[in-house]
């Protein structure tokens, strides 16, 4: 009986506590920068698409919500012809970001993407591409990778020695 009265008093005292509720549309909860929300495709510092269409994100995606088609421009630079994420399937696990070798695909702290029509949750490349570099500024895959594209031959990347002539390497 005493314990009942005690618990009644404990509950009653909550009347004078400030509610922990965050009044959502007016107030918003703090989201850490690495919060896994809406997925974006970032660009390199020169404004080119970072995505090289390697399909790793689509392969690792546990719910298969990513679809893309890789293609090449006239300089031999790979980019996705289309890039489609079905956010009605996406579980925001972040595996695609982990898998991406070029920091192209990134998750952002944004969750306000409700739609009245289900098809509107399918984001195309124009919806995904942002103009910035996202979480990894200053990174440009083609400038540090040894792959040759138009305007940059082998051995011309940053911190890359010219390729060795194999016939000159003597035992």
């Amino acid at each position: 009986m005493l314990s009942v009265l005690k618990s009644l008093w404990v509950v009653f005292r909550h009347m004078f506590h400030r509610p922990v509720t965050i009044q959502y549309p007016e107030q918003k909860a703090y989201l850490p920068p690495r919060w896994r929300g809406r997925i974006i495709l970032s660009r390199d510092p020169d404004g080119g698409e970072r995505c090289v269409g390697c399909y790793l994100c689509a392969a690792v995606c546990p719910v298969e919500c990513i679809a893309l088609q890789a293609t090449e421009d006239e300089h031999g630079r790979r980019f996705p012809d289309f890039f489609r994420i079905n956010f009605s399937r996406c579980i925001y696990c972040g595996f695609c970001e982990d898998a991406c070798p070029t920091y192209a695909i990134q998750l952002t702290p944004d969750y306000e993407m409700s739609e009245y029509q289900r098809p509107n949750l399918v984001y195309e490349k124009e919806d995904l591409l942002i103009d910035g570099e996202g979480k990894y500024p200053g990174y440009n895959y083609y400038r540090v990778a040894g792959v040759a594209i138009g305007g940059k031959d082998k051995g011309e990347a940053e911190r890359e020695a010219p390729p060795a002539d194999v016939r000159m390497v003597m035992p």
Binding site: S7, V11, H14, M15, V20, T21
Partner: protein, 317 residues
């Protein structure tokens, strides 16, 4: 004003007042539960979320009013009306203020007990006519619970009746001029509050509709405004029990400075908040615990109270 006209005016006033109060109680309960759980509760619609009740009512009224094809249709339809009617009838004898009472029956307490007993039929018939096992279990629980708690609900009030020397609620309020009955009848108050809680099927005595075990108990199959009737009936029941506790134990409308109606409303409000606090705090007991609590603790308490009160009144002559 002529007597019948005055009666009709009082009846309409009480009826509209009560239905408004019951509707507002839905909001009050949600707000208070929210505050006690460190939330806000409904606070969007209108000032302090007061119009939430209106929205809920519109929702209930526009919902599909579904009668299951396997249900016993006439009984299914009547059952929710029974609870409203019995609870509202019981309010007829509550003296809200001197003169503000529908009827001053000389058997007022008995009338209240009778009406609250009839309320059980609503629950039992609802569960039976639904032809659903969960509803049936719920209504059987309700029947057993009511049977157990009705016994000492009546007994707990006999102490008050002995002290006041009357079943009439006006006389009982008059008898509390010097000292409220909550002091000499503290045992009776405790027993009656417990029985009243069980009578209204509120937490912690809401086993007939324990949603964690039997869906929603006796009103599992109900929807729309029929469910709304059970809902409003429950809140009216809370108001009724609080009003009866105030009348029988806390001096009714008696109090200094403020007008009687205000005192009555104030006391009832505090008790209703107490009911909600109980709901916010206590978990639901097991059914055998509930029955054991009723028969082995509350019933002996009520009997002891009755015997002691009777003995003291007799000894004083």
């Amino acid at each position: 004003m002529t007597e019948p006209l005055r009666s009709i005016a009082v009846i309409l006033l009480v009826l509209f007042g009560l239905l408004t109060v019951a509707a507002l109680l839905v909001w009050l309960e949600r707000r208070l539960l929210g505050r006690w759980q460190e939330r806000y509760g409904p606070n969007r619609l209108g000032p302090f979320g007061l119009f939430q009740t209106v929205a809920d009512t519109i929702k209930l009224l526009t919902k599909e009013d579904w009668v299951p094809p396997f249900a016993d249709k006439p009984v299914f339809v009547i059952a929710p009306a029974v609870i409203m009617v019995t609870v509202l009838m019981a309010f007829a004898i509550v003296p809200f203020a001197p003169g503000l009472q529908v009827v001053d029956l000389n058997i007022g307490v008995l009338f209240f007990l009778g009406m609250s007993s009839l309320g059980v039929y609503s629950v039992v018939l609802a569960g039976w006519s639904s032809d659903n096992k969960y509803a049936l279990i719920g209504s059987l629980r309700a029947a057993a619970q009511m049977l157990a708690y009705e016994v000492f609900m009546g007994l707990s009030l006999m102490g008050v009746v002995i002290l006041a020397g009357s079943f009439s609620l006006v006389r009982i309020v008059d008898a509390q001029r010097g000292l409220w009955f909550c002091v000499p009848q503290i045992l009776g108050l405790i027993v009656f509050a417990n029985a009243g809680l069980a009578e209204t099927r509120r937490l912690p005595f809401d086993l007939p509709e324990a949603e964690s075990e039997i869906v929603a108990g006796y009103h599992s199959e109900y929807s729309g405004m029929k469910f709304g009737m059970f809902f409003i009936g429950e809140y009216l029941g809370v108001t009724l029990i609080s009003a009866m506790v105030v009348t029988l134990f806390f001096g009714g409308w008696r109090g200094p400075w403020l007008p009687p109606v205000v005192w009555f409303a104030l006391k009832t409000f505090v008790l209703v908040c107490g009911f909600i606090l109980l709901r916010a705090t206590l978990p639901r007991p097991r059914f055998d615990q509930l029955m054991a609590y009723g028969w082995t603790v509350m019933l002996p308490l009520a009997l002891v109270n009755l015997v002691v009160t009777g003995a003291i009144v007799l000894a004083r002559g």
